[in-house]
């Protein structure tokens, strides 16, 4: 009878074997127990003996071949035997049971939603905030290292509609009057970071997410006045009522109105491509920007903001889209856009605020601005310094950030406090 020769498993953890040298050839007579071939392993070559005496036939592996354990390598056939090796279906490997069902282990179901970075708060405080819909960012911590403790939340007035609150971030804390950054329509406070990194490391800086943008929810009132109120509340809460104001686009208009608001002492005013100086704008941009739901659709609109698309960086489009999936921004911004643009034209007018400024004011435009045209900057008061950048679009604080940084420093110095 014929005896099958298989690739043997020689070590517990091996599923394959590497053929070494053959000691007998196809057709050779072999004796039971004599070495037929070797297997190469990490430790040493291992000899494999003939399982029976007879003729070596149907050799199916050569030196150097790597074969699964259990594979047929050949047969030892009896002398004169008329033998045909059976057709074997692919060998079922060591049948392992479905191990996808793991034995149950203890469940760990703590989920923490508040992702405020750099905030110290005890687990108990976080839970209380979650349960009561309070923002930890609004609470002052009384624990070690400023840690917010549960009792600190107890002191948050209960019943006051603090369900909605305005997100703000101190980009830097320090001594002296801060710079307050207010972004434009459909943007958020993160847009200031590239510029902020270029500012010298002394002056404190506070950035705000306007309602309906970034991490700030939009309340019932979707109006320009609501935006101004929100910004003002933040400045009051943060003790930053005496500040240098920097606003971009819609944020510029907010900053201009803020500079006249009671309780606010604007030490200087920097308006970058501000809204409110003319009626024209680019309503198609806002529609298209808010409607885009993938990078291919969004990118052309983003590119409209600048003259050199490279200056936007590759992360902006995906980050913008991701943000939309996590936060109800599109709906909020549609409401605002509708309120602020009637028939596709700007409804805000800030010229009065700039008629007789009592603090240093700079207005900056890029000449290639396709959202708020640069010619809006005409006929401003002589006390307003106008800076116009050629080959720059709607985002001078991005495309000409070094120059902007210098201008901000100059302005803050001029309005020294």
């Amino acid at each position: 009878m014929a005896h099958e020769i298989v690739m043997p498993r020689v070590d517990m953890d091996l599923a394959t074997g590497r053929m070494g040298a053959w000691r007998a050839a196809e057709g050779a007579h072999v004796v039971k127990g004599e070495t037929l071939f070797e297997i190469e392993t990490d430790k040493a070559a291992m000899e494999v003996d003939a399982p029976a005496s007879g003729v070596l036939r149907f050799v199916a592996a050569s030196e150097g071949d790597v074969l699964p354990v259990g594979s047929c390598i050949g047969w030892v056939v009896a002398e004169g035997e008329d033998f045909v090796p059976p057709v074997t279906s692919p060998r079922a490997a060591l049948a392992t049971p479905d191990s996808s069902a793991r034995a149950d282990v203890e469940e760990n179901d703590a989920v923490y939603a508040d992702a405020a970075v750099g905030l110290r708060a005890t687990p108990a405080a976080r839970r209380a905030a979650r349960e009561r819909g309070l923002r930890l960012a609004d609470v002052k911590g009384s624990g070690p290292k400023g840690r917010i403790q549960a009792r600190d939340l107890e002191q948050c007035a209960v019943g006051e509609p603090r369900m909605l609150s305005v997100n703000r971030e101190w980009l830097r804390r320090g001594e002296g009057a801060p710079i307050v950054f207010i972004h434009g329509l459909c943007a958020d406070l993160n847009g200031w970071r590239p510029l902020f990194r270029l500012l010298p490391e002394t002056r404190p800086a506070l950035a705000i997410d306007l309602p309906g943008h970034g991490l700030s929810p939009l309340g019932e009132e979707a109006s320009f006045d609501a935006l101004v109120d929100a910004a003002r509340s933040v400045m009051i809460e943060e003790g930053a009522t005496s500040a240098h104001l920097v606003g971009h686009s819609l944020g510029g208009a907010v900053a201009a109105v803020l500079s006249q608001a009671p309780g606010v002492k604007a030490l200087s005013l920097m308006l970058i491509a501000p809204a409110g100086l003319g009626e024209e704008t680019n309503p198609a941009f806002f529609d298209g920007f808010l409607q885009a739901d993938d990078e291919a659709a969004l990118t052309p609109w983003l590119n409209l903001l600048v003259t050199d698309p490279a200056s936007l960086g590759s992360a902006l489009a995906p980050a913008t889209l991701r943000q939309r999936t996590e936060l109800p921004l599109v709906a909020a911004q549609r409401r605002l856009t509708k309120a602020l643009l009637a028939n596709g034209r700007q409804t805000i007018d800030i010229r009065d605020c700039l008629a007789a400024p009592r603090m240093p004011v700079k207005v900056v435009f890029g000449l290639e601005d396709r959202i708020t045209p640069a010619h809006h900057a005409e006929n401003l008061s002589g006390l307003v310094a106008l800076h116009r950048f050629a080959k720059i679009g709607h985002m001078p604080h991005l495309e000409a950030r070094r120059e902007m940084a210098r201008l901000i420093v100059e302005l803050a110095g001029a309005g020294a406090a």
């Binding site: 760990n108 703590a110 070690p144």
Partner: protein, 330 residues
């Protein structure tokens, strides 16, 4: 029935006597437990009352002796093996951990190993490095063993009787400093569960979880803290495998602060497990401060009394840590 006072050692002796009298299958093994009465005078006169067949002196042969206990337990007997010091059990770890703990599982549930290993543990008597260790965590780490550390005479009697009647291997740690401590002990036979902690004192300001002699130090500390207006809840863990998780979790949910106190080396000790239990439980959401641990120093137990004292937590250490925790200074 009035509870008279017995020492911890006397309570153990009483438990052993009740077990020996109540079941022929029970017998004791250990070094010098017969006529000598045991290194800590625990077995005392048991050999006179029950004879040398029931109270067997062994040679100094921990591995062999422990294995004999395992074999006897496998085949119908109820041996109670005394190690003279927990440190010496290391010579028998093969039989305790590789055999006793695993036989039931490896054999698919076909056998039981109802053996009890008793071990004096801990420092404070000048025994130095090789006679003073607290290795509870080593054994509590092993599935298949049950591990307890009673800290009162009442508990050691009840838990030992429960251990002897338990079908699985049980290790009973007895802190050496407790042997002479007196306390009320009910008469007759009773059993104390092997899987429940005991709340020794209620409080609202922090939870102290302690084992062995540390449970007593924690109570002393709690007295002192009460004078400062700090209410410490003291949990005497008693059961190390399994640990009474619900008791700890419920307590921390109430107090929001946790201090674990244990004699074993701090790193990777029982208190580390207690901390993790809380951190991964619903009690996490109630914490108002980091979890603190007080444990043994990262060194072998020293000989010199001034060093031996600071090598493990003392009452003052517990008071200081508890105070920082309760006052939000941490």
């Amino acid at each position: 029935m009035g509870a008279r006072e017995l020492s911890y050692a006397e309570a153990i002796r009483e438990a052993l006597a009740i077990a020996l009298a109540g079941d022929e299958r029970v017998f004791l093994m250990g070094e010098d437990i017969g006529v000598y009465g045991g290194a800590f005078q625990v077995t005392g006169d048991l050999v006179d009352r029950f004879g040398e067949e029931r109270v067997m002196d062994t040679p100094i042969s921990e591995l062999g002796g422990a294995g004999v206990a395992v074999g006897a337990a496998l085949t119908g007997m109820l041996p109670v093996y005394e190690f003279q010091f927990s440190d010496f059990s290391m010579l028998a770890m093969e039989q305790i951990v590789n055999q006793a703990a695993k036989l039931r599982y490896m054999l698919g549930g076909a056998v039981q190993v109802p053996v009890v290993f008793r071990m004096p543990t801990g420092s404070g008597l000048g025994g130095a490095a090789q006679h003073s260790q607290s290795i509870e965590a080593w054994y509590a780490h092993v599935p298949g063993l049950k591990v307890v550390e009673p800290s009162t005479p009442e508990d050691v009697k009840g838990m030992l009787l429960a251990a002897i009647n338990d079908p699985d291997p049980v290790i009973v740690f007895e802190h050496k400093l407790l042997y002479k401590m007196k306390g009320p002990v009910p008469e007759g036979r009773y059993e104390t569960p092997l899987d429940k902690a005991a709340i020794r004192r209620e409080g609202r300001d922090l939870t102290i979880v302690a084992t062995g002699v540390m449970a007593h130090r924690a109570l002393e500390a709690a007295e002192s803290l009460a004078n400062e207006g700090i209410g410490a809840e003291v949990i005497d863990l008693r059961s190390l495998r399994p640990i009474d998780k619900p008791a700890i979790i419920e307590s921390v949910k109430k107090t929001a602060r946790l201090l674990a106190v244990y004699e074993g080396v701090k790193t990777l000790g029982i208190g580390a497990e207690v901390s993790a239990i809380v951190a991964e439980s619903e009690a996490f959401d109630y914490l108002e401060a980091p979890i603190l641990r007080l444990g043994g120093v990262e060194a072998p137990i020293p000989y010199s009394p001034v060093l031996e004292k600071v090598a493990v937590p003392q009452v003052d250490d517990i008071v200081a840590s508890a105070r920082r925790l309760a006052r939000g200074q941490v």
